[in-house]
């Protein structure tokens, strides 16, 4: 396949930053191709999706090492490619100070244009609320499931995001216990975090993604949403 890639059989290549750099002394095949003049000359455009990652994943933060340092080395890739290629950086969440980092990092031409749409979607309402009595007082969530739940009250489809896996399970149990006994075994409230098996995560995720699914309230760590083909 890489022979075909080298010869330009595929007009688009979708790749990860890590594929450009040596890993434990081994050079990935894409990095290898990039060493060849003919392949480099074939590249006409470079698109960097989720470009804020250059700063947010590529640079060290809070005294911890960068999660994915390859993101902050994309400038090396840019430098190896022909100077005249078009470069586009895309992001849905890029504050100005990160835009500056991305701009400098990708060596964007001084004539580059910024095209931006409003980030605030008109159908979303925001609110902030104090957790009365602290984060362990789950009564703060009682409003989700009314004490006298009965038809035709429809429960909203909710995603509750937590920092802590143990808290995910406790809150899911707490909310499930608020349902009338007959509804407690219907998978209406589910917990979702990376300690659960892949099979469980897939089942819950598929059901939650289905507009007619059983699960209405998903308690998850910030890792929710796993299209998680990630081995660990």
């Amino acid at each position: 396949m890489y022979q075909d890639v080298n010869e330009g059989k595929y007009p688009h290549l979708i790749v990860q930053p890590e594929q450009f750099f040596a890993f434990k002394g081994h050079l990935p095949r894409l990095a290898n191709l990039l060493q060849g003049h003919s392949f480099r000359e074939r590249v006409k455009r470079l698109f960097v999706d989720e470009a804020h990652n250059i700063a947010t994943s590529g640079l060290p933060r809070d005294g911890q090492e960068a999660f994915r340092p390859a993101w902050a080395k994309l400038n090396e890739v840019r430098l190896r490619l022909p100077k005249a290629i078009s470069v586009q950086a895309l992001s849905a969440t890029i504050p100005n100070h990160i835009l500056d980092i991305v701009d400098k990092h990708l060596l964007l031409s001084p004539e580059h244009r910024i095209i931006s749409l409003s980030i605030n979607r008109p159908n979303i309402m925001y609110a902030n609320h104090l957790l009365v009595g602290g984060i362990n007082n789950y009564k703060n969530l009682d409003c989700i499931i009314p004490a006298d739940l009965h038809p035709p009250i429809r429960l909203p489809k909710l995603l509750i995001v937590h920092d802590d896996k143990a808290e995910v399970s406790r809150v899911a149990t707490y909310l499930n216990n608020r349902l009338p006994p007959a509804l407690q075994c219907l998978d209406i409230v589910k917990h979702y975090h990376s300690d659960m098996s892949q099979q469980y995560l897939d089942t819950v995720f598929d059901d939650f993604s289905d507009p007619d699914g059983k699960t209405l309230i998903l308690c998850a760590t910030s890792g929710a949403g796993t299209v998680c083909d990630f081995q660990h």
Partner: protein, 132 residues
């Protein structure tokens, strides 16, 4: 290493979840940075732009007691690293803009409108981004 893998998983996923028809997202406990906060809220109300949805951040009492002048965490994306330390408490990791968002915004007036906060933070100057 484990915690790095978890972090990686988390970062990937924040941008990955695209479930349609979520009526609301509740962030239980303050989120450590504004971009993360915004990404999470962005999971709500997908599928049909005519369906209204909400994003509610429920924050801990310590947030109100924190003096933003004394927050040490660097703003997201800044290259300033904190001193080497194994593990940071949530209070130490949360950046100043995220704290201000909970302390000063979310009251029913123009000055503290959360939409305005996001518009300002992300440098969004379009007419549809503001107070409605």
């Amino acid at each position: 290493m484990i915690s790095n893998i978890d972090n990686l998983l988390n970062t990937i996923d924040q941008q990955g979840l695209d479930v349609p028809f979520i009526d609301g997202v509740i962030q239980y406990g303050i989120c450590a940075s504004v971009p993360e906060t915004f990404q999470r809220g962005g999971r709500a109300g997908r599928g049909d732009p005519n369906n209204d949805a909400f994003f509610l951040t429920m924050f801990e009492p310590w947030v109100l007691k924190t003096d933003p002048k004394h927050v040490n965490a660097p703003t997201t994306g800044s290259t300033k690293a904190l001193v080497k330390k194994k593990r940071f408490t949530k209070e130490e990791r949360t950046d100043v803009a995220a704290i201000r968002l909970c302390q000063e915004y979310g009251y029913p007036d123009r000055e503290s409108c959360i939409r305005n906060f996001f518009a300002l933070y992300f440098g969004d100057e379009s007419s549809t981004s503001k107070f409605i």
